[in-house]
């Protein structure tokens, strides 16, 4: 285990620091330190020779062979000096040590000056190596190395003694790293004696438990909320179905009135035609030609009535077929249904097609919307006529295209929407109709159909004479829409 402490990643940094510090020292020492020592060594030898030169000179001068030899041998004892050569007229000496021949030797020459004549009487040459310097440098590096080894051992012992705590911290760190609210996590179990680290682990376990607990609560709340939302949606759908049903009921009521208006004129014509046939037959003036003319009139009017029935049937057809359709045609059919009522109520209408626009969706749903808007316009105009504010109603329906949107504007001169309810006019059960005709769900249904089924918008704005209801439906990606299932 202690061995692992030497190779652990913490110790790796120690070795790294060791190399980072020691290598520059070694390089610096190799280049500069030895140079300094070498210079110092040269100075030392110079000083030694400067000191000993007078003694040597005296010994040469007094022919003191033995003492001269003693001095030179004394110099030779100096570790780095490997060889001495003395060259004078009376003395020639060559002293050397038995040294490694590969050793690099440096040369130092010193003149020996006669103490009496002040002339050079001899020349001494010293050959010295840097053995001492190398030894010093080596000792320095060895010392540094052992200091580091000692520090490493101390470090390893400290690491060994705290490894349990470090492992415990590592376990906590790994657990926290892998923690996820979506994953169930086992409690952190430690074999650590450190009170502080155990406290951290316990607090972490408690925190994880708390989070799990809150997560479960949150899930439960979400489920409850989901159920509540689904209930509310169901209720809303039921409510809407009910409202649509009511709307259709109301529409059917209005339709019946429209049918009555539509059929009144052809029935009168048919009645008059049959009465004429009968009268002419009794008078004996009925010939084949006249009979055919009258029957033609009856047939045409019956055909008109039949068409009217077809229009109503188409409108009330529950089939929801998705298709491309021209709003101009759809609106025309609705105007056909309401034509008699409008005439009866002294209301004129204009259907203007500025652009040949094509929508994709359920045609009947747009018809239902247009029916609601036109019926409301008719009611508003009739109210204004009753109040004698206007003598004749006018409804203008404009179909146009603007900024990749198909726009249908339904404008009337029915006095407009009161400002107090202009923001809530599309809310359910909001009506301006004082009599029992209004259910207050027509515009809500209309907006709902345009926004949720045709992905468009419906808004209202007042004009000087009345109001304008504006339908906007995007014409972009019409082909894509064609592939979608509504």
């Amino acid at each position: 285990m202690i061995f692992r402490a030497f190779i652990d990643k913490f110790t790796f940094f120690f070795w790294l620091i060791f190399l980072v510090v020691n290598v520059p020292i070694y390089v610096f020492g190799s280049i500069y330190f030895q140079e300094i020592l070498k210079k110092s060594e040269q100075e030392k030898i110079t000083l030694m020779m400067t000191t000993l030169a007078p003694a040597i000179a005296f010994n040469i001068s007094f022919d003191q062979e033995n003492q001269l030899s003693e001095i030179l041998n004394g110099i030779l004892k100096y570790e780095d000096i490997q060889k001495i050569e003395l060259d004078s007229l009376a003395h020639k000496k060559n002293l050397s040590k038995q040294t490694d021949p590969t050793l690099e030797l440096f040369q130092y020459e010193h003149s020996i000056i006669d103490p009496f004549e002040k002339i050079e009487i001899a020349k001494i040459t010293l050959y010295y190596s840097n053995t001492n310097l190398k030894n010093i440098t080596q000792q320095i590096f060895i010392t540094i190395f052992f200091i580091f080894i000692f520090a490493l051992i101390v470090f390893a012992i400290i690491f060994y003694s705290i490894r349990t705590d470090l492992n415990a911290l590592k376990t906590i760190a790994n657990a926290m790293k892998e923690y996820s609210v979506t994953k169930k996590m086992q409690p952190i179990l430690l074999e650590c004696k450190s009170e502080e680290i155990n406290t951290i682990a316990n607090v972490t376990n408690q925190m994880i438990d708390s989070i799990s607990h809150y997560l479960m609560q949150l899930k439960s709340f979400n489920n409850e909320l989901q159920e509540q939302i689904e209930d509310e949606i169901l209720k809303q759908q039921q409510q809407e179905r009910l409202m649509i049903h009511q709307s259709r009921q109301a529409a059917m009521g209005e339709m019946l009135e429209s049918i009555a208006h539509q059929w009144r004129q052809p029935l009168n014509i048919i009645g008059l035609a049959t009465a004429n046939i009968e009268t002419e037959y009794k008078l004996g003036v009925l010939n084949e030609k006249k009979f055919d003319e009258k029957m033609e009139i009856v047939s045409l009017n019956l055909q008109h009535m039949s068409n009217t029935i077809d229009d109503f049937r188409n409108f009330l057809n529950p089939e929801r077929k998705l298709e491309r359709f021209h709003p101009y045609k759809s609106i025309g059919e609705i105007l056909n249904i309401l034509d008699a009522q409008f005439s009866n109520s002294n209301i004129r209408f204009k259907l203007i097609e500025e652009s040949n626009v094509t929508f994709y969706g359920v045609e009947n749903e747009l018809k239902q919307v247009m029916f609601i808007l036109l019926s409301n316009a008719k009611d508003a105009i009739m109210l204004q006529i009753q109040k004698q504010k206007i003598s004749q109603g006018l409804i203008t329906i404009t179909i146009k295209e603007q900024s990749a949107e198909g726009i249908i504007e339904v404008c009337d001169n029915g006095g407009g929407v009161e400002e107090s309810i202009v923001n809530t006019i599309f809310d359910p059960y909001v009506t301006t109709k004082s009599n029992a005709n209004g259910t207050g769900i027509g515009l809500y249904i209309a907006k709902n159909i345009i926004e949720s089924r045709m992905k468009g918008s419906l808004r209202v704005q007042n004009t000087q004479e009345g109001s304008c209801f504006i339908i906007r439906i995007s014409l972009e990606n019409l082909d894509k829409k064609e592939n979608e299932v509504l």
Binding site: F58, S61, F62, D63, Q67, F116
Partner: protein
Amino acid sequence: MTQRVFFFLLTLFTLLNAKEYDATVMDIEAKLFPKIAILEENIANNPSPYLSIIIVYKEPDYDAAQNFKQKIESTYPDKIRKKKVIVGLAQFESLEIANMDALLVLSHEPDELERIALWANKNKIVTFAYEPAFLEYGFVASIYIGKTTKPYLNSQTIKKYNFIFDSYLLQLSKFN
């Protein structure tokens, strides 16, 4: 005839009293004595351009003294430490203190040697004895000849009469 006999006897007596001087020793001493003398502080500091050495002899050693003089002069034909070496011969009775730096004393009777040494030391004159054994009479220096040859100094005299020699000389010298 009587005169002839007298001179013969005198010459014979003189020759018989004359001491033999070794040429090698004389060479060494002729070489070293001036060097030792010039290393004495009083002589070295003396502004005189001469190093005056007097050889003190007795009549029988005249030739030896002359020989000594020639050897010194031939060894130092030029200056030594900027001083011209002048060698003179004198007998003790005729010695005068003036212009004298050192004495080289040849053989004398012991009492004479003592008197010469005493006189010279009192006058701060460096004395050299041809015979090392003469140092016991109070001479300052001689030459020791053993396995090696080196200056031989009388430590008592040097100390007593305050002669100051160069330290390097002291290092390589032998003391009695």
